[in-house]
């Protein structure tokens, strides 16, 4: 019965531990090493009640190690953690939860076939042996209401919810366990702008409740939108913790990179090449209706749209990965039939997926294997490989995309996201003089420093008379990199802009609002 008693006590008493002025969680001098590599060194932070604290840094800065220490996955080698004013040793993820520290998982850990209510209470230590059904239901509803998500039906199976709503349920789940510190790790990667706004609203209510949030993100805009203070990590060390109000954006980037931010987006050489890729009347049943565009030599065409707008699907279809795509396609003056990635690749159209783990790189294979994956026919005789030539080719490609040659033998999964993307990119460069590169979300999940490199590579690819067509939902990227921007809303083209005409406002308006019907 102790569980039930616990439940009752939690109901009646509402002690806000930590008290006013005291911090919810204090971390002092935390260090953690993996073998010879120090992932975190001497990192300290104090999180106040009702604070939303941003944590940012490049990949490898130690953000996820910090999260794993706070949630009991890793034990720190040195340093101390206090919850309220009590020093603690966080022993396991479950212990972290009991202490009120809850991670809102990046890959959602909900059971898709169970109802919203069941998911909220699933595995909670507050559920007594004898269900107090009405009581639990009321509290689940209250929690959702608090998050501004009262419209979510408690009985609906989670599978029927959008990604954003699932995230809200996940947050509700953590709050119902009396979490005092919510940790969100890159929560918005798969969400649309509207959904992101909902999550932000929910986090603000959490804040009003006096609970705190640790918000980890790559996206600077989100830091400014939601966070009170930001802690910048670099190479496992604490750079600074600053108030976000009034903090200069370029200074923030500089703190993350440890050097002045160079021009993020490379200058574009004015090229007016002829048409290389022409698409007419592309139709993807149920997703995209009648899409047409032309990519000229030397040009980066950016199809801008939110998740679900059809932008990513268009790129996949051009790569031959969508079976029921129809339309007329011309590459370099010759017609191309879609539907087969192998045939498409033969015509010099290469594809770099936005989903690196699922269809971008061969994670278990070596860097070398990955780089030469599509070049085997160039270095073989009667099916037998010339391994020396392959090594040389891989070394050359590694140099081209900026991967350390000593890492050729390493497994691809040991590389950071940015380096994995460079691998996928390296596979495609220099294949054909009239090549077209297709990219989906070229920098999803990639930190600021590696981004700039990817953009430079993209620009360089186009310099040799090739063209690049990409889909993106990242506004800064769209404006920064696209020579031609095509905006998409629910499978329909809203506008087309040359680089000089493009502005962030227009794009936001285009991709978030339905097009005004023509008079």
């Amino acid at each position: 019965m102790s569980i039930a008693l616990d439940f009752v006590r939690e109901e009646t008493a509402e002690p806000r531990s930590g008290g006013i002025g005291g911090s919810i969680v204090t971390v002092r001098g935390i260090a953690k090493s993996f073998g010879p590599i120090a992932a975190l060194e001497g990192v300290s932070l104090e999180i106040q009640p009702g604070e939303i604290r941003g944590v940012c840094g490049e990949n490898g800065a130690g953000k996820s190690t910090l999260v794993k220490i706070l949630t009991g996955v890793y034990r720190p080698d040195a340093g101390e953690i206090s919850v309220g004013s009590v020093p603690v040793t966080i022993e396991s993820p479950r212990h972290a939860q009991e202490l009120g520290i809850a991670l809102v998982a990046q890959e959602l850990s909900l059971c898709p076939d169970l109802s919203v209510e069941d998911n909220i209470w699933l595995g909670s230590i507050r559920v007594p042996f004898l269900h107090k059904k009405r009581e639990l239901r009321r509290r689940a509803a209250e929690t959702l209401e608090l998050l501004g998500a009262g419209h979510i039906n408690l009985d609906a199976p989670v599978a029927t919810l959008s990604m954003g709503e699932r995230q809200l349920v996940e947050i509700a789940r953590m709050l119902s366990r009396d979490a005092r510190l919510l940790i969100l790790d890159e929560p918005t990667a798969t969400l649309t702008d509207v959904e992101i706004e909902r999550i932000f609203a929910a986090l603000r209510s959490v804040k009003r409740e006096g609970r705190s949030v640790l918000y980890i993100t790559h996206r600077l805009a989100e830091l400014y939108a939601i966070c009170d203070r930001v802690t910048v990590l670099r190479n496992g060390e604490l750079v600074a913790t600053r108030e976000l109000a009034g903090l200069d954006r370029s200074l923030l980037i500089e703190m993350m990179l440890g050097r002045p931010s160079d021009e993020m987006y490379p200058e574009q050489a004015p090229t007016e090449g002829g048409a290389l890729l022409t698409i007419e009347h592309l139709t993807l049943p149920g997703i995209v209706a009648d899409f047409s565009m032309t990519a000229r030599r030397g040009e980066i065409v950016c199809i801008a749209g939110q998740v679900g707008s059809g932008a990513a699907e268009i790129i996949s279809a051009l790569a031959g990965l969508v079976h029921d795509a129809s339309g007329d396609f011309t590459v370099n003056g010759r017609r191309l039939k879609l539907g087969s990635p192998a045939r498409t690749a033969q015509r010099g159209i290469m594809f770099v997926s936005g989903d690196r783990a699922a269809e971008g790189v061969f994670r278990r294979l070596s860097v070398l294997h990955n780089l030469v994956a599509t070049r085997l026919p160039d270095h073989s005789l009667f099916g037998f490989l010339h391994t020396g030539a392959l090594r040389a080719a891989a070394a050359r490609l590694a140099g081209h995309v900026g991967i350390d040659r000593r890492r050729l033998a390493a497994q691809a999964e040991q590389l950071s996201g940015g380096n994995q993307q460079k691998l996928a990119f390296g596979r495609c460069v220099g294949r054909a003089a009239n090549g077209v590169l297709l990219m989906n979300e070229p920098t999803r999940g990639i930190d600021v420093g590696a981004r700039a490199e990817i953009y430079r590579l993209m620009r360089r690819f186009c310099e040799d008379g090739c063209a690049l067509v990409m889909a993106s939902s990242d506004l800064e990227e769209i404006v920064g990199v696209g020579d031609m921007v095509i905006t998409l809303y629910r499978g329909n083209v809203v506008g087309r802009y040359r680089r000089s005409e493009v502005s962030m406002h227009r794009i936001v308006a285009d991709i978030t609002h339905p097009p005004v019907p023509a008079p």
């Binding site: 192998a342 269809e359 061969f362 994670r363 294979l365 599509t374 085997l376 490989l385 033998a409 390493a410």
Partner: protein
Amino acid sequence: MSDETLPLDRLLPLPHSTRGRVLVAIRFFAVIALIGAAIATPGFFTTVSLFSLLNTTSFIGCVAVGMTFITLSGNIMAFSLGVTLSTSGIVFTAALPLGLVGAMIVAFAFGAALMGAQGFVIGYFRANPIIVSMAALALITGCATLITHGQGVYPHGTATAALKGFVFGIPIPLFAFVVSVVVAQVALSFTRFGRNLYMVGSNWRAALAAGLDPARVVLGAYVAAGLCSALAGILMAARYSGGDMELGIGYDYHAISAVLVGGTAIAGGEGSAVRSLIGAFIIAVCQVLLLLHGFSTQVQYLTIGIIVLIVIMLQTLADSSAG
């Protein structure tokens, strides 16, 4: 290239996590313990027991090499390699009037076609490989039993005698097994097909998106598996002077055990034919040891079952530590 160094990782590819390394150490000590047990067991290193060891290993080993291709391609295993072995043996025996070489060619073509058909369905239709192989098992068993009326097929004359001899003093089955391992390993390491196989097994979607033809690669893996099973079928039909459906019973299971014990990843994309050779030998050594200590066949089965379970658990642990 002069600036290419050979880092330690290339010579000795150790996992990077502590847990991964512990697991490698466990494997290492298991092998040492096995060798120790073999030395401590009187009678193990006698010619008779070694010969029986190598002979049993050869047939299973050939099938295991075939299974390696399937496992590497990301399709886990096939339950149909045993019946492919049996039927290839029957076809070989029935085709002996064509002459030994002719009969072997027919049997190889037959085995390749049987497995190739499954590879086609699995590769081009993305059908579940386990289910397809089980359906094929039922189908082939049914057809073969209908045609042969459940009887064995026995050769006239002594055409198969040549396959019972020795090459360089090595029994032909063992020789054939070693050759098949070498050929398979060369194909895996030094040909385009081999590289493509690792890529497809490692990540089908990525292979497709990169513009490779994964379905054709899977088809190739199944054809290779069919050829290996046919080889085992021919050798067994020659050894037992005739083919029947009993020949290959249980071989699928023994073969996948050898593949897994050798350390080829069940998820595909990682492993080799040489590892399967090692796996086959480890299992055979265990069997002979148990036999010499007077344990029954049932205990041998039980032991192999336990070993495979442990290996799978170790693999899963190693995988979860890799991320």
